[in-house]
């Protein structure tokens, strides 16, 4: 299984999290769906789809929480027949991040949640303090996306 990163500071915490939690797939992304690091994906199209859907779920559940006067949900868990999906946000000096974790029957949601806490703390410690980022322009988007895909899949 491969781990690849766009931002190198995320690699060590991610590798440790994958090992401890027994995760099959992990995506670390921004709330906009920009992937910073991933584990387990072999095809760019799958990774981008997972990141976009994960970010959309967090955005829509956050909006739903706001509608009912609640704070955004801490984490979401979907128990499937063969896989579980854990989706949670964490704050870092680089800005808020979303982590999507897919795991199988060899581990459990208890272990994933337990080690996610450590992972979130490690990300918070490792993340560089963000500089004011330029707004993403439509013209730059494709170039940015291609750069990220090249970093993640080395092609």
């Amino acid at each position: 299984m491969t781990t690849s990163v766009v931002e190198p500071w995320a690699e060590r915490p991610l590798v440790k999290y994958v090992e401890q939690a027994g995760a099959r797939l992990v995506v670390v992304m921004t709330p906009a769906g920009q992937v910073l690091a991933q584990h387990g994906f072999t095809r760019a199209v799958d990774l981008m789809a997972a990141a976009a859907l994960g970010a959309a779920i967090m955005a829509s559940s956050g909006a739903l929480a706001q509608q009912i006067g609640e704070r955004p949900f801490g984490s979401l868990f979907h128990a499937g027949m063969r896989h579980g999906i854990h989706l949670a946000a964490c704050s870092t000096p680089r800005g808020p991040l979303i982590v999507l974790t897919v795991f199988g029957k060899e581990t459990s949601i208890g272990l994933v949640e337990l080690f996610f806490e450590e992972f979130a703390a490690a990300l918070q410690q490792a993340a560089p303090v963000t500089t004011v980022r330029e707004p993403v322009l439509a013209g730059d988007f494709e170039a940015d996306l291609n750069r990220s895909l090249t970093s993640l899949f080395r092609r």
């Binding site: 581990t107 459990s108 949601i109 208890g110 272990l111 949640e113 337990l114």
Partner: protein, 117 residues
């Protein structure tokens, strides 16, 4: 149901040396009910106890030993005991070195049987 679960935990916690006891979902590794001394990391114990039970069950199945009913892990500073109860539940107890393991095991098995009834 939760009253009965808590009553069982109270009985287990009365055994001298017990630092905490809990009902844990075997599949998810999350706590269903607990009675813990301060400083005991319930979430971590629940997750790790369920993982331990799953791995021991796998080993037992591989060796043809049948269903696992009880797991005892002795460490330097204490003991972790896990009893398998019906309904995808585990009874987990964390105890220090002075615990009477026999008595604790008896209470845990009683709780597991009560959960089955």
């Amino acid at each position: 149901m939760s009253e009965a679960l808590l009553r069982a935990l109270k009985r287990i916690s009365r055994v001298r040396g017990v630092r905490g006891s809990m009902w844990v979902s075997a599949e998810d590794g999350i706590t269903v009910a607990d009675l813990l001394m301060e400083g005991v990391r319930g979430r971590a114990i629940a997750a790790l106890a369920a993982s331990l039970a799953r791995k021991v069950s796998g080993a037992a199945a591989a060796t043809g030993s049948g269903k696992v009913r009880f797991v005892q892990l002795e460490a330097e500073e204490g003991t972790l005991l896990v009893a398998v109860a019906p309904g995808d539940l585990l009874i987990v107890a964390l105890a220090d070195r002075r615990v009477n393991v026999g008595l604790l095991r008896l209470e845990m098995m009683r709780a597991a049987e009560a959960a089955a009834a």
